[in-house]
């Protein structure tokens, strides 16, 4: 599973980083999120990534593979 944050949609609600701090990092200046894991999400973090996807108010996070 790969994870991607759509920078156009993200408005910096920060829920993803609260739920999965090992996967998402927030920009220091505006709090917008990016995925820090480039390749496959480790299996033990997949459930948290799925919860971040469900919780994003802007629906800015997607997974593939």
């Amino acid at each position: 599973m790969k994870v991607h944050v759509d920078a156009e949609r993200c408005q910096g609600h920060t829920l993803c980083a609260m739920i999965a701090p090992d996967v998402f990092q927030l920009d220091e200046v505006d709090g917008h999120s990016t995925a820090i894991i480039d390749g496959d999400v480790p299996a033990d973090l997949e459930a948290k990534v799925a919860e971040a996807v469900r919780s994003c108010p802007e629906q800015a996070i997607s997974t593939s593979g």
């Binding site: 408005q11 910096g12 609260m18 927030l26 220091e28 200046v29 505006d30 108010p57």
Partner: protein
Amino acid sequence: MSTDADADRKKNAYHFARHDPEYRERFADIATEMIDKCPVAWSDTYGGHWVAAGHPEVFELARSAEYLSNDHDVNHERRGYQGITIPTPEGTGFQGGFLEMDPPEQRHYRQVLNPYLSPAAVNRWSPVVDELVRACLNEHIETGRIDFVDHLANVVPAVLTLAMLGVPLKNWDIYVEPVHASVYTPHDSPDMPRVQQAQMQMFHDMFGQLGEIRATPRPGMIDALAQATINGKTPPDMELLGVIALVIGGGFDTTTALTAHSLEWLSEHPAERERLSRDRDTLLDSATEEFLRFYTPAPGDGRTISADCEIAGQRFKEGERLWLSWAMSNRDPAIFPNPNEVDLARTGNRHHSFGLGIHRCIGSNVARMVFKRMVVAVLDRMPDFRCDPAGAVHYQTIGVIQGMRHLPATFTPGTRIGDGLDETIARMQVICDEQRLAEPVTVRKASAAIAPEHG
């Protein structure tokens, strides 16, 4: 002009009177009914306007910035739009900061303030907040009685907001009462002249601060605004005062409202309170989001349709007004199972309490941090608190803020830890000044360093 086509567009009608006390009393029923029958409805109230209540509908509408305007055109220079308040308050010639602007100006203001309000910027203030909370509780810990609104939830957000702006902390009492009272005092109340007088005093102080900071810069959001270039121009002072008032209005009463309602709920659910205290490491984040969802301190925002369009299955015409109900959309059963229950461990909590899209609450990180620090300190120092239902005073109407005026509580008395509120505020002022805490995160990255006064 009413036509058949117009009547067809407005066939989903609902008499939506959110400024009536009945709306507060019947909120869950009204939300359920509107979400079920007319998730986007035409209401004849307040001059006629659209109301979006369903979660998918609010989601789609709020993110359609190309068809929605927040503009409050007080000088009639553009299209005369009336901003985010429905109905427009009588006699207002005042623009509510960048929340009543459209891009690009709105975006430029947010870029100015973001480095003061990002998660990294806000976390630097956490030790200061802990000191203020400790001191607030100290004032009452030995008596076994406290008013969670007057003595805690009204105080800490106000002092912190002023610190971040660069206003002297001791001025907090010039600001807190008018901000709080102007929200809950009905316009026809005999108390209104006094509230307006206090508001004038607050704006006078704010204007003085802006002038002082311009003459002798000191760090904080006011300094950033005083130096800002917005869309190639230096903004007029009235516009800057609107922005400062927005930061103050957004930072004070909303967090107060959230904290009061949450403490009231925890008092009514002692087993859940114990669970939250015990499992705070895993539960505090989700509980905070759930209280935000359930109590939605800022229940909605108005918009003006800026071009004819069809969104969420509804046709709109340019110039029509629209109310985006964050509060009702937060009760949509399609998104939130058992929406009228508080579930501290709720997952998938895509609530709308901070709004959505380009106008998302810029202070959300402050609100969350301050709320959590206040709740945790109460759980630690007053673990058996009981709110007094007979003394609790909720706002009579929740059209603007779903808040509380008073929330008295009793608890087993405890011991003071360190100094009281006035001494702590004075000490925090020195720390703010010496460590230049109110600098943006781009200038100062380190957290506040506070030597433990109480060892």
